[in-house]
């Protein structure tokens, strides 16, 4: 069932990177550095602007994939992988969408585990790639059985 979702995508959503959200996020990860929210420091930096911490894309709205109905409980976050072409800057619009990149199952000590690979893509307004975020979610056999009901 999950295998059939490979290749399915959400539609693009516009996300504006807000200074206040970046500041709150930086504080919440214990990294309240001025490069993230102080306008003067941003202007004088090599980025000519304030930037967002690398894990900030967790806050983005990436739309939903209608074919993918994941349970809200029992999922295990296995891996998280970011790739950037440059840091994201405060004030810019990032267009995001998500894709089911892969699904496979592996047998191990805890039974037959499912691995779902979800990739977020973030692009600038001209469609140039800014970042990807890949998330590997581990789904146990028990949780998968619950999904069939």
């Amino acid at each position: 069932m999950l295998k059939s979702t490979i290749g399915k995508r959400s539609s693009k959503m516009k996300n504006t990177i807000e200074r206040g959200s970046v500041r709150k996020f930086a504080e919440a990860i214990g990294d309240p550095a001025s490069i993230y929210f102080d306008e003067e420091v941003g202007k004088n930096s090599k980025y000519k602007n304030n930037i967002a911490p690398p894990t900030f894309p967790v806050t983005f709205n990436v739309g939903s994939i209608p074919e993918l109905n994941l349970p809200t409980e029992g999922l295990i976050h296995g891996e998280q992988i970011y790739h950037y072409t440059r840091p994201l800057v405060v004030g810019e619009d990032v267009y995001c969408w998500m894709e089911v990149k892969d699904y496979y199952e592996k047998s191990g000590n805890f039974g037959n585990m499912g691995f779902l690979v979800l990739t977020k893509h973030g692009e600038d307004p001209s469609g140039e790639l800014l970042f990807t975020e890949e998330r590997i979610v581990i789904i146990s056999e028990t949780v998968r059985k619950g999904m069939l009901v």
């Binding site: 919440a28 990860i29 990294d31 806050t59 440059r86």
Partner: protein, 132 residues
């Protein structure tokens, strides 16, 4: 402060010990990230999920880890950041963040990064490619 460009294979950035994890840390992260899964904030929900108590968001720890590189943002940025979540982080755990150079090529320096708990267990492990 040493420049990343001057680091050699085997060199490490200054370790960062975090304060013991508090519930308020996780409530703040839930709010800032939008991840309101209650196993990270509400005891009864964590217990219902078979956990001994609430656990930190994996992304809270991963978010913290990147601050090892914040002092170097004038020199370059994190191009690739790959993490495997290997263990749970509970309230009162004391996490230490580390980064060690494992490869150098042109303007790119690859680090092995870890978050280690007070029992010397890696709760998070991966690598960061820093682009100068």
């Amino acid at each position: 402060m040493n420049r990343i460009a001057n680091l050699q294979i085997g060199d490490s950035l200054t370790e960062i010990p975090l304060k013991p994890v508090t519930r308020l840390d996780l409530i703040k992260y839930a709010g800032a990230s939008g991840d309101f899964n209650p196993i990270h904030t509400i005891d009864a929900e964590a217990e219902k999920a078979g956990l001994p108590g609430i656990i930190a968001h994996g992304m809270w720890t991963m978010g913290n880890l990147s601050k090892l590189f914040t002092p170097y943002l004038e020199e370059g940025f994190i191009q690739d950041y790959a993490i495997r979540f290997k263990g749970m982080v509970f309230l009162e755990d004391v996490i230490t963040l580390t980064a060690t150079v494992i490869e150098k090529q042109g303007g790119q320096v690859k680090f092995n990064v870890t978050a280690v708990n007070q029992h010397q267990k890696n709760v998070l492990q991966g690598d960061i490619l820093f682009s100068i």
